[in-house]
């Protein structure tokens, strides 16, 4: 460790705890690093790196799915959807918590990114659960944790990028994600079940048959949205990113037909979306700068190399990789971490005789956990800004789910067939 690196870490922590917005902390830390290590030639590269953080078509899914969520809310679509799910299974104790998990798994089969899903679901589920009597912290934490399934259940941005980096079959990766995705869902359901014993989760009245029919009739046009999205993506009418734009247009039409959405609300809806989006994308911008400096100084490689010199046993290697990724996941986010680390780790797979598809699922779950861990976790930031919950309270409330996710990660790491059985079937 050099003097420059140590003082930069101190600067980073100091800036963070005196309450400077995290996006600016990343930018200021990057700048200080260049001064502390006398790397001033890199200064001229800073604006370009900030710009190129946004130069990515996939990121458009963030504002568009946020807008779709906002429009569905204003248009009374989401309340009807959740009302319908509630009439069906809400009368169980903690029913709405289960509804949230199931809804997340369903949505995961449409969306490819945990961030997009967290943005949409926290907009939709948290106010609804709060209305039912759940605490806002618990509701946001559950919603955020469940969004982990988004990149695990196909389609998945992370799998596509991992496959491109390593040459692993993207089709296999998609299929390999299904069982771990379901395991995660079951894990969360068990957590709710255990919490249900101790906590006094609300339940709603059992719906009558008439109510079920009535709410089904109300929700029918709204159900068109996921149907059109799934059908549109599967039949090649549009890409997942474009599907978000289509969802927005359909949400507007249905919202107007429900007579709950009015043209005069649109500017407010759009402005909300912009501010919520920019808090995330502005962070991506500065994280891209931060990631560039980390890459330039080869910090992830050095960490990886020193950890990997420890053991030649594949099981120990996988454990070390998990620890490394969980640690790096606290400061680096998803795609950036993937792009930096996979090229370093992938060549080692041959040495340790580890299946690249199996490894891809492990890496993806790890990096998605990174979205939930402070200080840098875009999932945390999204949900905290959308649901207006303090990051600290969110971190505390998410602990049981985080631990569950790590347990399932360990199961998947050491039980290879849970991942490779399904893709092996159709060969």
């Amino acid at each position: 460790m050099t003097f420059g690196l140590i003082s930069t870490i101190i600067v980073f922590i100091l800036l963070l705890i005196i309450g400077i917005p995290i996006s600016l902390v990343l930018a200021i830390t990057s700048l200080s690093y260049l001064f502390l290590t006398d790397n001033l030639t890199l200064l001229a590269t800073v604006p370009q790196k900030m710009f190129s953080g946004m130069d990515n078509f996939g990121l458009l899914a963030i504002p568009l799915f946020m807008l779709a969520g906002e429009l569905m809310n204003f248009g009374g679509i989401t309340t009807r959807l959740i009302q319908f799910a509630k009439v069906l299974i809400g009368h169980f104790k903690g029913g709405l918590a289960y509804v949230s998990i199931i809804a997340n798994m369903f949505l995961a089969s449409i969306l490819g990114s945990a961030n997009a899903q967290a943005a949409m679901m926290s907009k939709v589920m948290v106010p609804e659960m709060e209305k039912e009597g759940y605490s806002r912290e618990f509701s946001s934490a559950l919603t955020l944790a469940s969004s982990v399934v988004a990149p695990v259940i196909p389609p998945s941005m992370l799998f596509i990028i991992y496959g491109t980096l390593t040459g692993a079959s993207i089709g296999d990766l998609f299929i390999a994600g299904i069982i771990p995705g379901i395991l995660l869902g079951i894990g969360f359901i068990i957590v709710i079940g255990i919490m249900n014993v101790k906590e006094n989760f609300p339940r709603s009245e059992r719906g009558t048959l008439k109510e079920i029919f009535k709410s089904f009739f109300y929700v029918l046009p709204a159900l068109l949205i996921p149907f059109i999205i799934i059908y549109g993506i599967l039949s090649g009418i549009f890409t997942p990113t474009e599907s978000a734009a289509v969802a927005c247009i359909i949400a507007v039409i249905i919202g107007f037909s429900y007579k709950q959405l009015k043209a005069k609300y649109l500017p407010e809806i759009l402005l909300n979306t912009v501010v919520n989006t920019a808090t995330i994308t502005f962070l991506i911008v500065t994280a891209n700068l931060f990631g560039y400096i980390i890459a330039y100084e080869r910090i992830p490689q050095l960490m990886a190399e020193s950890m990997l010199s420890i053991s030649e046993n594949p099981l120990v290697f996988l454990l070390l990789v998990n620890i490394l990724l969980l640690l790096l996941g606290t400061v680096l986010d998803g795609i950036a971490a993937l792009i930096i680390l996979v090229p370093v780790l992938a060549p080692l797979l041959v040495t340790y005789q580890i299946n690249p598809v199996h490894f891809g699922v492990i890496v993806t779950i790890n990096l998605t956990i990174g979205l939930l861990t402070p200080p840098v976790g875009t999932g945390l930031f999204i949900v905290s800004s959308v649901a207006k919950v303090k990051i600290e309270s969110l971190v505390k409330a998410i602990m049981p789910f985080l631990i569950t996710t790590v347990i399932i990660l360990m199961i998947i790491t050491y039980w290879e067939s849970a991942v490779l059985w399904l893709p092996g079937l159709y060969k």
Binding site: I18, I20, I22, S23, Q48, F57, A245, T273, F282
Partner: protein, 161 residues
């Protein structure tokens, strides 16, 4: 300062609302043109990405004005109102100094660009690049305005994060 900040806010709001609506419509129309009319809009992806960069830097500046950017507040919350004011003055001096440096760097970057055209639309790259210095300038104006308020008077409780 106040009027300038509010004037900038109005521009940011109107432009970013238009950009968000335009992104949605362009992508939707792109789907219609490609799938139903078999005449893809080759410029749609690039145009929406460029609009998104403008949206990010204008909206990011708005987010700083509205104090909606995520931060860690467990320590700050423990301070008295007076202590918080002092801490806020310190953090804003740090932020403004960093922004001033970023502003200098980004204006120099845009002004010394070598010629480059975008890959699909063939428009000059300074058009999307300009979002960086403009957004940072607006953010600087908002934070300077807030800093002046901080020094002039104790902010209301609701103003303090």
């Amino acid at each position: 300062m106040k009027t300038l900040s509010n004037w900038v806010e109005r521009i940011e709001k109107n432009v970013s609302i238009l950009l968000m609506a335009a992104i949605t419509l362009v992508l939707f129309i792109a789907v219609v043109y490609r799938y139903f009319l078999s005449a893809p809009l080759f410029w749609a992806n690039e145009a929406t990405i460029f609009m998104m960069t403008w949206l990010t830097f204008l909206g990011g500046s708005l987010g700083l004005k509205y104090k909606s950017q995520a931060s860690i507040t467990f320590l700050v919350d423990r301070f008295s109102v007076k202590g918080k004011r002092i801490l806020l003055i310190i953090t804003h001096i740090i932020i403004l100094a960093a922004l001033a440096l970023l502003l200098y760097l980004s204006y120099e970057w845009v002004l010394t660009l070598s010629p480059q055209k975008s890959s699909s639309m063939r428009i000059p790259m300074w058009i999307p690049y300009l979002s960086v210095p403009v957004g940072l300038t607006f953010a600087f104006i908002h934070l300077l305005d807030y800093m002046v308020d901080l020094i002039k008077k104790t902010p209301k409780r609701s103003d303090v994060l």
